[in-house]
Point group: none
Chain length 120, copies 2
């Protein structure tokens, strides 16, 4: 996978997307990530997209699918670091990412995952 | 019923699906399981699908219906052992199993049922 890194923080997986992803990379990320969630029995997934200036509809949908698959694997997904201009574009495209939680920073995302372990 | 086993663990029923189920088998499982839930006043049902490489839309819907029927019989249903590739396929099919709780392993599923007896 280019432009992404995947690090385990206890039972939370931190995915950092450092640059634009091709559609193929996005799908590879989805597969690797769900595999790792099952492998380490992750309780939560943080996806840091602060490195992205653009989120296209394919990536938005993939993020949504990742959250759905992780939910089926009993892990919660939080997208962190979305830029304001990305948020505006997504809303203009009608992509409001239902079912996906967001937080502004990684530490806030972590506390969001830690604050409510009952749902894991 | 072929390919399935049903074991009582105290007031929890553990259903193990060992191989692919025909639609008829899935319906038989639904009938037998709800019958047993009422018979032993089960508090929870664990359905282990780790033996399944594929979950088709019929089985996904049957699992959803089983959870609904068990909820009406005052038992909570937890699906455990879903493979990552199954989760991805279900999400792509739009089948996110709303109302169904999931856990990665049988022991986590058991603690999920035990941890929150108030909802039973």
């Amino acid at each position: 996978m280019t432009n992404t890194s995947l690090v385990g923080l206890g039972d939370v997986l931190l995915v950092t997307i450092q640059g634009e992803l091709s559609d193929r990379d996005a799908l590879t990320l989805q597969e690797e990530l769900t595999g790792r969630v099952a492998e380490i029995s992750a309780r939560g997934v943080l996806i840091d997209i602060s490195g992205l200036e653009v989120v296209d509809s394919f990536l938005a949908r993939t993020l949504h699918d990742i959250a759905g698959a992780c939910a089926l694997l009993a892990a919660r997904t939080v997208v962190v670091g979305m830029r304001p201009e990305v948020a505006i574009t997504l809303v203009e495209l009608g992509l409001t990412l239902p079912g996906l939680q967001t937080a502004l920073t990684v530490s806030r995302g972590l506390s969001l995952l830690g604050a409510d372990p009952g749902q894991s």
